[in-house]
């Protein structure tokens, strides 16, 4: 790791009030400044790579709120991720990591097949039975949490159903490639259907390559940089086969990763060209706000918006989603306090660090309650999973939707 990146942290503490884990613990070891210091001291030989040190670093959500707050340009979240990648490249992936990151995630077919038992489990009423009997208590805790987080799955993953080419409605204004995230396809297929519908209604021909693979974000999360680069190369090749104005995604996590392909594959013009074309769906819709507004019909509802970290902190997109929500006639927009604070989902964090994740979620739910909103809108599947569960448990009257779902609903109503 580049030592200069570590000593650039001048320890001013500006990151502390924005860090979700520091806010919960007040511990320097659980702060961005502390994490940078731990890695630095490890590199300087003052500390060893102890279990405890790794445990401290693993508490980082990589939400990158610290990067937004840092005037010196230090990105503590990214440094922790980089550190994990370097460590894994030396130690190698564990059996489970290899299974998941190399054999499952990069192959959409395998990934989809792996979800079949879950679908059967939910549809046959087995889920109800298991939940009622409390059988889950007999399984390892992470499994129980995963089970609880999963909403009812769609009958089929969207990838298997969606047309490879969706024509533009009316005069064609351009062609976009749609990057369909794994979780969007497997779980939130209605939202991605809405995304495609909005794009085509605004005059875009939408190409959704059937053979695209996972963006590689799970590999980065697991410290598997090589696996991530492999995913990047595959996707770059696939999308290079089409003439595209933009590559659009409705998944904040994918968007953040796709925009970094150029960075990860430094020197590759194709990667750079790919990344510069990537847009979050809100960016495209905001370009055509006037046209979109004409399509929207009234929806009298109080709405608030939660900024996904991967959209606000990693991509710097804050205004567009809010502006889009305000386009809907009848919507009463309520700003959420600390809207860009993490919800505690953070990839698999809500499973690996359940206790901390719950505390962070609780803070978020408190702000949702205080906002008085009837509908919480966000635009990242991780947040949707986490908040859906949180609302169901604690604020059952508040609904949750992806940004494109509410816009599409307003179009149809």
């Amino acid at each position: 790791m580049d030592y200069v990146k570590l000593i650039n942290c001048m320890r001013c503490g500006m990151c502390l009030p924005t860090c979700p884990t520091y806010k919960e613990t007040f511990l320097e070891t659980a702060s961005p400044r502390g994490r940078v210091a731990l890695i630095r001291k490890l590199q300087e030989g003052e500390l060893d790579q102890s279990e405890r040190l790794l445990e401290y670093l693993s508490l980082c959500l990589d939400c990158q709120a610290c990067a937004t707050a840092c005037p010196s340009g230090v990105n503590a979240g990214e440094l922790v991720a980089e550190f994990t990648c370097e460590r894994k490249s030396q130690s190698g992936l564990s059996f489970m990591e290899d299974l998941i990151l190399r054999k499952l995630v990069p192959h959409p077919d395998h990934l989809e097949t792996s979800m079949v038992p879950m679908r059967i489990y939910q549809r046959t009423g087995l889920q109800k039975l298991v939940r009622n009997l409390g059988v889950l208590k007999m399984f390892p805790k992470p499994l129980g949490r995963m089970e609880g987080l999963l909403p009812p799955l769609p009958a089929k993953p969207l990838r298997q159903e969606i047309l490879e080419i969706t024509p533009a409605v009316g005069r064609e204004r351009g062609t976009v490639g749609f990057f369909l995230g794994c979780v969007m396809s497997l779980i939130f297929s209605d939202a991605s259907r809405a995304t495609i519908k909005l794009l085509s209604s605004l005059g875009y021909r939408v190409i959704t390559p059937r053979n695209q693979v996972c963006c590689g974000a799970p590999n980065m999360l697991g410290g598997d940089l090589d696996g991530m680069k492999e995913a990047a190369r595959t996707n770059i090749d696939i999308f290079a086969g089409y003439e595209l104005d933009f590559i659009v995604t409705d998944c904040g996590g994918c968007g953040a990763e796709l925009k970094k392909y150029g960075h990860h594959l430094q020197g590759s013009d194709a990667a750079e060209a790919f990344s510069t074309k990537v847009r979050d769906i809100s960016q495209i819709l905001a370009l055509h706000a006037d046209d979109l507004m004409k399509l929207l019909k009234p929806l009298p509802i109080k709405v608030t918006y939660h900024d996904p970290c991967h959209i606000a902190h990693c991509q710097g997109i804050r205004q567009e989603p809010r502006d889009l929500l305000k386009l809907i006639p009848g919507v009463e927009y309520k700003e959420l306090e600390s809207a860009d604070a993490c919800c505690g989902s953070a990839g698999t964090y809500n499973i690996s660090k359940p206790e901390m994740s719950d505390r962070i979620l609780q803070r978020k739910l408190d702000t949702v309650r205080a906002s008085g909103a009837e509908l919480l809108v966000t635009s990242n599947p991780g947040c949707l999973l986490q908040l859906k569960k949180g609302l169901a448990d604690h604020l059952p009257d508040v609904k949750i939707m992806h940004l494109t779902e509410i816009l599409a609903q307003s179009m149809d109503s």
Binding site: V4, I7, N8, M10, R11, C12, G13, M14, L16, P17, F26, L27, E28, T29, R33, G34, A37, L38, K41, E46, L47, S50, R52, L53, Y56, C70, P71, S72, G73
Partner: protein, 456 residues
């Protein structure tokens, strides 16, 4: 530290709030002061003032040193401890009372400064001190360092607002000073002594501050100056014209570039300096004051004068100014920040000294700060790995301090002496000054266990 002693500490605060692992100690070895690190023996996070008293009693008996710490944003090494016990106030963070009849607020020491601002402003009240780090700094730290801030020019500093303190003394006994009374001449006035004592006289567990009515309005302005000295002269002219802005901040070219790169608020990259000016008060009065300020800036050859159109725009500008120090670290990894302060009529002369010293010692110094109250922050942009450059930086600062003292100023306006400026203090206060300070320390803490090695 003896395992049996650590056991006793754990008994007081609970095991999870007594940190002794190598990793935790390592990250409590620094605060925001460049170049300084000390490894503590243990870090404690007490949850009640009673626990603080018990910690003090135990350490006093065992002869173990105690260093209070808030969020660790100290800029003079004041919250570092070599081998002693660091006591972090973060769990003692409750706002206990806002008394609207007496216009006071009472709180625990770990309360974040900006949280106090937010809560009192909800009631139409105002707590003016606003140090650059107010979003994370604690009130206990502010009191111990007598923190200033952007609004110091018109409203003064922390000391001007502290009315009462509850302090745990070195032996664990409680000392109550002041309270909610406006007038109090009973015995020595100990509050101002405790404020700015940098953790060497006692551990604050309760703080009562004075509040004032929130100003009805404010106007935020930004003036661009192609020539540095013109900006400095404009500062003196504004004060001489009997306009006291709440904020009168100066940023030089190097600082402007770094801040703009981070904050994107539209600062000009082609001028030598900008002044950020805020007047607050009654709408009629501030309109007149703003007009006077604009007039003076134009007279001093400002090339552009901008008035923030709304609260959001104003906030953006002042928040951008708050990032100045950290933004300077974009250019070089190590930023050595000083806060030599001079009578405000000497601002122009002081800026000249800073420029000359930087040139003479071949170092890059970015300067920003509270020009209106004479408190500048010349910041040397350097790299701790370049020992030669670090030596030159310190030589430049020594000159700057000497000049500040010669102008009737001081070596530190708001960051404290701590470890970082200890060697310059005798030059300023002389032998008698040091002797009196030592005597005071002796009276409060004869065993010398409270934050030893700081100030003198």
């Amino acid at each position: 530290m003896e395992p049996s002693f650590i056991k006793e500490l754990q008994t007081i605060v609970g095991e999870q709030y007594a940190l002794t692992d190598r990793e935790s100690l390592a990250v409590y070895g620094y605060d925001s002061t460049p170049e300084l690190e000390r490894l503590p023996g243990a870090v404690l996070l007490p949850g009640t003032s009673g626990e603080v008293a018990r910690i003090m009693r135990l350490c006093h008996g065992a002869g173990i040193c105690v260093t209070p710490r808030g969020s660790g944003t100290n800029l003079s090494g004041g919250s570092l401890s070599a081998g002693g016990v660091v006591v972090q106030t973060s769990r003692l963070n409750h706002l206990l009372e806002i008394d609207e009849e007496n216009l006071t607020a009472t709180m625990e020491p770990g309360l974040i400064t900006s949280t106090l601002h937010r809560e009192v402003e909800k009631l139409g009240l105002f707590y003016p001190p606003d140090p650059g780090s107010m979003n994370i700094s604690t009130m206990g730290g502010n009191v111990a360092e007598n923190s200033g801030g952007l609004r110091g020019l018109k409203y003064g500093v922390t000391a001007d607002y502290v009315m009462g303190l509850e302090t745990i003394l070195a032996d664990g006994e409680l000392l109550r000073t002041g309270g909610k009374v406006v007038k109090d001449v009973a015995g020595y006035n100990l509050n101002p002594l405790l404020v700015s004592s940098e953790g060497t006289l006692g551990f604050f567990t309760g703080i009562t501050v004075k509040l004032i009515p929130k100003p009805q309005g404010k106007i935020t302005m930004l003036a661009h100056f192609p020539v540095l000295q013109d900006a400095a002269l404009a500062v003196s002219a504004i004060i001489a014209a009997k306009v006291i802005p709440a904020t009168l901040e100066f940023l030089d070219k190097v600082t402007i570039k770094c801040v703009e790169e981070y904050a994107h608020v539209g600062l000009p990259l082609d001028v030598d300096a900008v002044l950020l000016i805020e007047v607050d008060g009654h709408p009629v009065v501030i309109a007149e004051e703003a007009a006077a300020v604009a007039e003076i800036c134009k007279k001093h050859r400002c090339s552009f004068f901008q008035t923030a159109q709304n609260a959001a725009e104003a906030l953006k500008l002042t928040e951008a100014r708050r990032t100045a120090l950290s933004a300077l670290a974009r250019l070089k990894p190590t930023t050595i920040l000083e806060d030599a302060t001079v009578p405000r009529s000497c601002i122009a002369a002081m800026l000249k000294v800073i420029q000359d010293s930087a040139k003479k010692h071949n170092v890059v110094i970015g300067t920003f700060g509270h020009a209106g109250d004479g408190n500048l922050h010349p910041t040397c942009l350097t790299d701790e790995r370049d020992k030669d450059e670090i030596t030159r930086a310190h030589a430049a600062f020594e000159e700057i301090f000497d000049a500040a003292i010669a102008m009737g100023g001081t070596i530190t306006g708001e960051h404290g002496v701590g470890l970082a400026k200890k060697m310059y203090l005798p030059k300023l206060v002389g032998e008698s000054g040091i002797r009196v300070m030592r005597g005071i320390k002796q009276a409060f803490d004869p065993k010398g266990i409270l934050n030893p090695g700081k100030i003198f």
